[in-house]
């Protein structure tokens, strides 16, 4: 048999890692009495799968637990066939996993599985999102009250919102089989640690405004629509929570004035 050129050898090897039988590759490998060529290739094929399964199990710990060892392994095998890693860093391997689970739900998977995976992936994204120095309550208090309606507050990049028909925060914590309950979670990072919490409808509305670049006045107006009597007080208490959690990293007071939390 002629020797395979390097490019062809790697193509055969790649297919073998992904579960295909490649007689031409086996013929290119030395067998010994204790270990045949196929056994030797199996060592690599197993390591390929185990390493990537372990990487996904780390990022999707709760999803993996919900599926059980075999169910998770089957899901990962199917996922890798559709979505082999396309990035030199294994950190990105799970970027399509939640969508994949939604499109191809594993047998006997709980109905919230893909959405739980979406929450876990949001936590991964937040974990290494860009750094910024948070604005604190004292910085805000220094701004005259008359200027507040025009303020545009800039949220940290380490902030994601996950919306679901299920109470994902209780599923994430306790698993189980809770009833449907539409839920909006915010996921954020503070001092290097990742957190998430459920938002009430007012905070959800306010955060949507914040992330779309609305002014503080516009956010208050939107809350007034939901809660006419207490909008101002609610807006104040929501803002206090955001500041305490380090979600605000910049204040734009107009075209020529501003404070910024970039390090």
């Amino acid at each position: 048999m002629p020797e395979p050129a390097l490019r062809e050898l790697q193509a055969l090897f790649w297919r073998r890692l992904n579960g295909m039988t490649e007689p031409a590759l086996e013929a290119a490998i030395v067998s010994t009495p204790s270990l045949g060529a196929a056994d030797r290739l199996d060592i690599y094929a197993r390591m390929y799968f185990w390493r990537l399964r372990d990487a996904l199990a780390e990022d999707f710990e709760k999803t993996a637990a919900a599926l059980g060892e075999d169910g998770f392994a089957d899901a990962v095998r199917a996922y890798l066939t559709d979505h082999p890693s396309g990035n030199p860093s294994v950190r990105h391997l799970g970027s399509h996993f939640a969508d994949f689970l939604a499109a191809c739900p594993p047998a006997a998977a709980p109905p919230w599985l893909a959405e739980l995976a979406r929450l876990e992936w949001a936590r991964v994204e937040v974990f290494d999102a860009p750094d910024a120095v948070p604005i604190r309550a004292d910085d805000m208090r220094a701004i005259p009250a008359a200027d507040w309606p025009g303020l545009r507050l800039r949220p940290t990049a380490a902030l994601e919102v996950v919306e679901s028909a299920w109470p994902l925060h209780t599923i994430w914590r306790d698993g189980g089989d809770p009833p449907l309950a539409p839920t909006a979670l915010r996921v954020w990072r503070e001092a290097g640690a990742v957190y998430h919490c459920a938002m009430d409808p007012l905070e959800r509305e306010a955060l949507a405004g914040l992330r779309s670049g609305a002014s503080f006045g516009d956010i208050c107006d939107a809350l007034a629509h939901l809660e006419p009597d207490a909008a101002a007080a609610e807006a104040g208490s929501i803002l206090a929570r955001w500041l305490a959690d380090g979600l605000i990293v910049g204040i734009n007071q107009g075209p020529d004035r501003g404070a910024d939390g970039e390090p």
Binding site: L17, I29, V30, R40, L41, I43, A193
Partner: protein
């Protein structure tokens, strides 16, 4: 912080050279004049001591000030936008040398070089100012898909030319030489035309790069393929070897697996002593990546490497006629 870190690093280099010449830091207990005299070594790697891998489990301990002589980190784990890992690494780097060790350069792949990856690596290098940069002599990607594994190359002239050309391109782009590590392997290609050590040596010479000699991988592959580890050491050019790796492996009956989940085995310690006898004292790193023990256990392995190296250097000093003349 950046300027201070750079200054500190430069100081380490200057001090090292002043004490022990281009070879690196003086080994405790050995006359400085004897340390550098086995062979010339790869000059890009001053002897910064005996380090350990910086893994997330150890972040709390290092933030409290626990230190090895130096830390090695997996480059890809820090090619990120922000967050705790980078903050910890910068804190460590402020007072301790760091080496960037990549796993996805895929230098032996027949895909085009991933330029975005190299630019990300260059940015990380500029940010961390590592003592040096290394990756593996293997391939790990095909059709722009990544195996995240260290797959073996055939030992052929074709592969030497291919890899050496790519290493030169990488080194030009990064503006520095890199080290490539010998990987452990579990198969041999029929069409290989030379032993692994001749392949490693030829790539390093043709590419003008350094060798990161993983002593555990030599032992694992020697067992798996039935060659003598001593022949491997004898076949490598000393002036290319810049760093040593030590790690634990596991015995799977018909083969040894480079598992990095256990203490260094006694046979590998013996081979490490032979390596120091052959190449002299070199910066050495204990790798431990799975089933991680407390950081102090890994630091104890690094201390064991330091002691083993000092023993070999002291023996060599005793055996040297120059040393006897000085003591007479």
């Amino acid at each position: 912080m950046r300027a201070e870190a750079r200054q500190d690093h430069q100081l380490t280099r200057e001090r090292a050279r002043a004490i022990a010449g281009p070879r690196g830091r003086r080994v405790a207990g050995a006359p400085a004049s004897l340390v550098p005299n086995w062979f010339s070594v790869f000059p890009d790697c001053p002897h910064i001591g005996h380090g350990i891998g910086l893994r997330p489990k150890y972040y709390p301990a290092v933030l409290e000030g626990r230190r090895a002589d130096w830390f090695e980190v997996i480059s890809e784990n820090f090619m990120i936008r922000g967050g705790r890992p980078l903050a910890v690494l910068e804190r460590v780097r402020a007072d301790t040398p760091v080496v960037l060790h990549g796993v996805s350069l895929s230098i032996g792949s027949t895909d085009p070089l991933e330029l975005t990856y190299l630019d990300d690596l260059a940015r990380l290098i500029a940010r961390i100012e590592p003592a040096w940069v290394s990756d593996h002599l293997c391939w790990g990607s095909h059709g722009r898909r990544y195996a995240h594994d260290l797959l073996p190359l055939p030992y052929t002239e074709e592969a030497i030319d291919h890899v050496a050309g790519r290493v030169r391109e990488v080194q030009d782009r990064l503006g520095r030489r890199i080290l490539l590590e010998n990987v452990s392997s579990y198969l041999t290609y029929r069409h290989s035309t030379m032993p692994e050590w001749a392949f490693v040596a030829a790539v390093a010479e043709q590419a003008d790069c350094g060798i990161l000699l993983d002593v555990n991988n030599v032992f694992v592959s020697a067992t798996n393929h039935g060659f003598r580890a001593e022949d491997y050491l004898a076949g490598l050019p000393g002036h290319r070897v810049g760093q040593i790796h030590l790690a634990g492996h596991s015995d799977h009956g018909t083969y040894l697996l480079d598992s990095h989940d256990a203490p260094v085995r006694s046979e590998v310690w013996d081979l490490y002593r032979q390596t120091v006898r052959r190449f002299g004292a070199l910066p050495t790193l204990v790798e431990w990546d799975d089933r991680l023990p407390p950081i102090d256990d890994v630091l104890a392995e690094a201390a064991r490497a330091r002691a083993a190296e000092a023993e070999v250097v002291a023996e060599a000093a005793r055996e040297s006629p120059h040393a006897r003349a000085r003591s007479a």
